[in-house]
């Protein structure tokens, strides 16, 4: 009798923490997802009180839409480009700032971290100015080395404009992952490196055999995080820098195309279907990644 009352009290205590969170989760995550799923089966302008049930038509339409293919391609282009770019640079700077005896490493840490505290909107506007063909920094800089004034429209290439979105997003991402990696590296006991030094291992050898394995957990988390945030969040930078897909729909990612369809061309149901697609693709990608990256983590003892 006594124990069951105790159990009940304990359960109540636990429930008082879980239930409010769960309710919030249901209201703000589960419900919208279900709503989006439901809307994706309708032909609805997003402004009208009338909508028509059309089954899987939106999805069938999507497989025939060439822009969807471009958008998915661009999404993965940014994912791959960002994972490679950010991870290489962040790891390099993290190692450089911890393992090499730099005098002003604190200063550099701050400098690299600054883009992370700037809003994406500011970053987009800033890089728009850098790329501006007439008054931009990039052309002005290049003009120093050429006889004629350089007037390249960096965001106006018919085919390769999406490449131009990589530098700003990588630049904006390095700081955070660098700090993550620094935190992991400083936790590695100095004695390991000392022993390696005595054994005659160079910097590269030390990095490969000591640093890499011991920060693998952080690298894994970083990669998954970059992938997910890129698949969900490239919308902002694309919207800001190329007004969602310009020129001529070559820079769309799924997020920007969703926005355009739902809010600018009055196909809300279709937009919802794209949203469902983003969800599915993100989930599959994450699962595959978890598999690929499942390497035994080496623990320090």
């Amino acid at each position: 009798m006594k124990t069951s009352a105790k159990m009940w009290k304990r359960n109540l205590f636990i429930a008082s923490f879980i239930i409010p969170t769960f309710l919030f989760f249901c209201v703000f995550t589960v419900y919208p997802v279900i709503q989006a799923l439901q809307k994706s089966f309708y032909d609805w302008s997003g402004m009208s009180e009338n909508s028509e049930f059309i089954g899987f038509d939106n999805f069938i339409e999507m497989f025939k839409d060439p822009i969807i293919l471009t958008a998915i391609g661009n999404d993965y282009f940014l994912v791959v480009g960002k994972v490679i770019g950010i991870m290489m640079l962040a790891t390099f700077f993290a190692v450089a700032l911890t393992r090499f005896k730099l005098r002003s490493s604190g200063f550099f840490r701050a400098i690299f971290f600054i883009p992370n505290v700037i809003s994406v909107v500011v970053i987009g506007v800033l890089w728009n100015f850098i790329y501006n063909p007439q008054i931009g920094f990039l052309n002005a800089f290049l003009s120093l080395f050429t006889k004629e004034k350089v007037d390249i429209a960096w965001l106006g290439f018919p085919k390769h404009t999406i490449w131009m979105l990589l530098p700003p997003t990588i630049w904006a991402g390095i700081g955070f992952y660098m700090i993550l990696m620094i935190a992991a590296i400083v936790n590695i006991p100095a004695s390991y490196y000392e022993a390696a030094n005595i054994d005659g291992a160079g910097q590269w050898g030390q990095f490969r055999h000591i640093t890499m394995p011991l920060i693998w957990e952080q690298i894994k988390v970083s990669i998954i995080n970059i992938v997910i945030t890129t698949l969900n969040g490239s919308f902002v930078i694309v919207q800001l820098m190329t007004n969602g897909g310009q020129p001529d729909n070559t820079t769309h990612v799924m997020g920007s195309y969703l926005y355009r369809m739902a809010f600018q061309q009055y196909h809300f149901g279709y937009g919802a279907a794209i949203g469902v697609m983003i969800l599915v693709i993100s989930m599959i990608t994450t699962l595959i990644l978890q598999r690929i990256l499942r390497q035994e983590t080496i623990e320090m003892s």
């Binding site: 009180e49 063909p133 018919p158 190329t242 007004n243 020129p247 001529d248």
Partner: protein, 379 residues
């Protein structure tokens, strides 16, 4: 608007009027439209509120019969007062244009006078002048590639009308998604004008990637000589206009030698919700705002030209507005009533035009692409 409503309230003390406005008003009102509880009277302007879509969605009251002999509070027939007639959707009228603007090409009169360049009267002139401008080291033409409806509204549509012997019904038929209209060779001829401007290297390379503000700034800095825009440009950039800058405005640059100017108008309109609870009061308000007194007051307070006819040559309006008014009322100008295309077709045209200006597609491909979208709409 507040002043107009206050006046209306004073004239009708027994009515209870609630005004909802603000920069985000269209977004804020969205749930009410969706839920079938819309405002009675709506000013259709700004983002996320698009007349053709509202008609398609069945949100606007059919005003066709009412407007036929509706009179304003002074007893004048409203239709007779309008400079621009209401747009018809399948032969029906749902919204009445109140604010009138026009697309066209701006240049700096002061700069042109200084350099001895003449205002172009036709396409041949435009090309010749542009050649001179280019030789002087200035880019002849800039547009806003991020929002290609500027170049469509100010260059392409007038060019189509010119190429179609000044008959603008072609544009209206195109907007109705009539597949035959889209086969008209006038469209190709118009697109080829843009190709000519492109191939002569007159289009500022920056155009493709910049927004309206950036293109307007470059124009104001004399980096570019001509810019396609709407009459609102000088007001929009008021804070950045350099001293001595004198806005010149021509409605179109694509007409043949001796041909008429083509002025493509754009309007902001008033409508009444189909589900309005006080339709009579809304109509009474419509009759009130379309009086000469209210229209003049609107024009003075907002700085935007009103759609109610009147002589502004003696008013305090700036020169370019008077220029525009002179063009709009001249027999040598074809005035094109506002045409709104469906959102899908409009976007397809914008994308295709940008692709055309950077040489990615040919005029034939432009027509093919947009016609495909039109065909899909018809289904």
């Amino acid at each position: 608007m507040e002043k107009v409503i206050a006046d209306f309230q004073a004239a009708n003390p027994d009515l209870k009027i609630k005004q909802s406005a603000g920069p985000k008003i269209n977004e804020q009102m969205k749930p009410r439209w969706i839920a079938g509880n819309p405002p009675d009277f709506v000013y259709i302007d700004g983002p996320e509120l698009f007349d053709r879509q509202m008609v398609t969605d069945g949100q606007l009251e059919d005003l066709t019969d009412w407007i036929k002999d509706a009179k304003n509070v002074d007893g004048e027939k409203i239709l007779d007062l309008l400079a621009q007639k209401p747009q018809e959707f399948d032969g029906k009228i749902y919204n009445i244009p109140f604010v009138l603007s026009a697309w066209g090409i701006f240049y700096d009169k002061a700069l042109f006078k200084d350099k001895g360049w003449a205002e172009p009267k036709d396409f041949e002139d435009f090309l010749a002048t542009s050649e001179t401008i280019k030789a002087a080291g200035i880019n002849p033409f800039i547009h806003t590639g991020k929002y290609p409806y500027y170049i469509n509204g100010a260059v392409l549509y007038p060019a189509i009308v010119s190429a179609n012997n000044n008959d603008y019904t072609l544009l209206q038929n195109m907007a109705k998604n009539d597949p035959e209209a889209w086969k008209n060779p006038a469209i190709l001829k118009a697109l080829n004008r843009i190709v000519q401007i492109r191939d002569k290297g007159f289009i500022d390379k920056a155009s493709v990637q910049i927004n309206h503000t950036d293109s307007q700034s470059l124009f104001l800095q004399h980096k570019d000589a001509f810019i396609p825009n709407g009459l609102w440009l000088p007001n929009e950039m008021a804070k950045d206009v350099p001293g001595g800058f004198d806005f010149g405005f021509i409605p179109s640059i694509t007409q043949d030698k001796g041909g008429k100017f083509v002025a493509n108008t754009s309007t902001a309109t008033f409508g009444i919700a189909k589900k309005a609870k006080n339709k009579d009061a809304a109509k009474a308000f419509m009759q009130f705002v379309f009086s000469k007194a209210q229209a003049t007051q609107w024009a003075e307070l907002s700085g935007a030209p009103s759609n109610v006819k009147g002589d502004i040559s003696s008013s305090k309006a700036p020169n370019f507005v008077k220029d525009a008014a002179r063009f709009l009322s001249s027999p040598d100008t074809v005035v094109v009533p506002t045409v709104s295309f469906s959102a899908d077709v409009d976007k397809a045209m914008q994308d295709a035009t940008v692709a055309l200006t950077i040489g990615k597609i040919t005029p034939e491909e432009w027509v093919k692409r947009v016609s495909d979208v039109v065909a899909k709409q018809k289904k």
